[in-house]
Assembly symmetry: C3
Amino acid sequence: MSLEFSRKITRVFTIGEIAEIAEAEVVGGDLTSAVAKQSEIIGVSSLEMARPRELTFLGARRYQERLLTSRATACILTRQYLDLLPKHMIGLIVKDPYLAMTHVLAQLYSDAITPNALFEHSGVSPSAIVHSLARLEPGVTIDPGAVIGPRVQIGTGSVIGAHAVIGADVCIGRHCNIGAHVTLMSALIGDRVIIHPGARLGQDGYGYALSENAYEKTPQLGRVIIQDEVEIGSNTTIDRGALRDTIIGEGTKIDNLVQIGHNVIIGRSCAIVAQTGVAGSSEIGDFVLIGGQAAIGGHLTIGDRAQIAAKSGVMRSVAAGARVGGAPARSLRKFMRMEAMLDKLARASKPKLNSN
Amino acid sequence: MSLEFSRKITRVFTIGEIAEIAEAEVVGGDLTSAVAKQSEIIGVSSLEMARPRELTFLGARRYQERLLTSRATACILTRQYLDLLPKHMIGLIVKDPYLAMTHVLAQLYSDAITPNALFEHSGVSPSAIVHSLARLEPGVTIDPGAVIGPRVQIGTGSVIGAHAVIGADVCIGRHCNIGAHVTLMSALIGDRVIIHPGARLGQDGYGYALSENAYEKTPQLGRVIIQDEVEIGSNTTIDRGALRDTIIGEGTKIDNLVQIGHNVIIGRSCAIVAQTGVAGSSEIGDFVLIGGQAAIGGHLTIGDRAQIAAKSGVMRSVAAGARVGGAPARSLRKFMRMEAMLDKLARASKPKLNSN
Amino acid sequence: MSLEFSRKITRVFTIGEIAEIAEAEVVGGDLTSAVAKQSEIIGVSSLEMARPRELTFLGARRYQERLLTSRATACILTRQYLDLLPKHMIGLIVKDPYLAMTHVLAQLYSDAITPNALFEHSGVSPSAIVHSLARLEPGVTIDPGAVIGPRVQIGTGSVIGAHAVIGADVCIGRHCNIGAHVTLMSALIGDRVIIHPGARLGQDGYGYALSENAYEKTPQLGRVIIQDEVEIGSNTTIDRGALRDTIIGEGTKIDNLVQIGHNVIIGRSCAIVAQTGVAGSSEIGDFVLIGGQAAIGGHLTIGDRAQIAAKSGVMRSVAAGARVGGAPARSLRKFMRMEAMLDKLARASKPKLNSN
């Protein structure tokens, strides 16, 4: 079966119920809208993998051909693709299919919003190692082998993954999910935070003073503060501050293998895509988007709602709302003009007898 | 001794035996070929580290000077470097020295092909934590501290490294090696798969819908499927699919610190070098080469046998057999022409009085 | 309190004592220098977080405004910013504030120079798994859950973090700190080495021979050698050599998420910033600086004191003392000239009616 690892669907839903969650208009295909609304949905899948009695969605033009051969019973889509809808398929017309699908999945697979305990138990696993001075609220789950240090505090509803290591004095809020193999040190973690396996928070930052040809290590004394509803990807690293704190603002989502240097302050609801690096002491505003493999130099300021293209190398501060790209980064418009110009010059310099 | 961590050589081999494995012609140096073939080899090492009674190989022109001072008894090389061979050294002449050496090492150090149990034991370590519903075939080795979840299946000959965490319902085939500290969730793993320490498979992908200035998490329901003979490097991350599966095709080799986004499908026998990222939903064909630190954007198609240069930023789909480079990526020919043109322009714009 | 995770300050220090450590001249502000030297300091913090009775420092021009509103009792700074010093604040004038602060912190927070045991215990944790053939000198600390393999040797004063996995035959010197979740295999580790959580050392390198459309794995037989006083960041990966060893020279400092390929040799006192990759068999001299997200190709030589800019893609060997940047990397001077020229051309090609 296509999704055997999924959390089970909560129950069977009718198209009518789903339309309500998705705020969608129902177009019945062969059926009247009223009959269509009685149809039952037992799962959700992609266009190509969906089977009858499943729901799917069309998120982008490039997948429109997959709609034609999809076996799904119903599809969430925008009005502009309605004429592509096969006759046998029920349409649920919305403005933003991805957002609608997010809402639908959150209802149909409600326990998949937060990763759960791997061992399907609750409470403290007998193989976990919990220091006698740690304080756990009722309703905390500790997976096998997790190590909880002295004076750690963990709020109700939080799950600590297998073999996670929580260092002395760390505070973790409520309804958090700390993945397997995560390391937390010198950290304050808010509520409803998700940290995926192998992320490292709170180790020493990269700080040395050069003295007569040797690097002397600068003691790192700050904390890592992770505000509510942050999500942090697998194997991402976030260093503790040196003399102040490293801070990740509320609702910011960080992908896998991202590096956040010491003293960095990131605002609310930023999106930071995989393999990006933010060097020490930079300050990033709210609602900033940073594409994958970008680099933000140290001691810079990135204004609210700035957008940094993937693979950018940002060497100067970026104004609020600005869009930059390239390495070194320039305004995105200028960067694209430069690239177009280079293309033109390269065509002009093309040897006459070679094909491209 | 130079290689004290090596698995021991299986036994002493003669040059004649090695020549047979390497499909090599023996050139005796001071000796007749027949006498040379009687010489015994007790180990293999690099040109500069090899000692008498050891075998070495010359893989590239740039190391030819090291041949002159090498103390090895014998060297695998191509005919074109034969005149560089010191008189005291036996030559084994082949077409592809690296391939020949790979075959020789596979015989001489046969237990180094697959990483082994760290604790040199077999069976299930008493400190491993195996759920009562897990099913292990006979001949499975579980290293200390590994955590095996409910309904996990593991095939014979597989080794699960120390502190690895295998989530509920994961299936692992036969003769696999799962490294220390690996996390597997929502994953199906084929036969003869090698996963190095700290790799993360099957965590949630990076999926959010933007709604009124907040990111809403999109539930991730798909699997990760790893086909036979795949090798995955240390600290690499491969996310589970959202509504379909993430798939890594047979024989594909992935290096360290690579990021593979949700829904990505990679074909057979691809090589993906360290720190590369493949964004969500892209589909990569067979025999594709991707150099280090490359980025493949989301929702793209990369055709069979395409070659992506290191550090490329691929923003459009790439045709089968095409070679691309640069960020944003262009055909490699065009990219090289652009770089040559830039060099020329930079020379022209060089201030008269400065040296470079 | 602002730094609750810090190791505690050793004791209260007077400004006079601190001036001696920092080799600083004391400027009393409202006080005479003699009176100022009697003032007591109970902590150190950043300009913006410091409170009365704390010390801070001004490291760069860009933070000079924060000096004006800082509540610190004293500030380490250079003479050129002396006129910015608020009247109530004591100045400690030095040539290199960052170096001076490093020395001061090393005295005031002496136990923060090396990360300590997470569980604040000494000796071998009862939940650690130590092979009967491992040899530990007296004074070794093993945190909960660490796995120590057969014939491992660990020197006095070393701390092995929670759930670290130390493979067979690994040698670790004295006064090392091996972080939580670190994996060490086929490794020799010197004295006073710090390895942060999740680093992977000694796994197989990325070596395959292509034979009739399939990759054959080349056995990896070498070691990883880490010399004295090296520091290695979180989730960094360093592969064992193939036929020779991978070597990291004395005093070299490697940041987070760095990839070091098999057979790489790195000299003394190099600084390698986060997310950099060094491909197999390259040889890097002493005192080399490599910025973040740089890539060094395989089989190259980087001379002593070379400087590689962040995000460089180095495809050819680099001479001693040279400074390079860009991808592909060129001399930094040429690279900057090219970028300036591109800027000029882009301005010239700017459409008349658009603003930038």
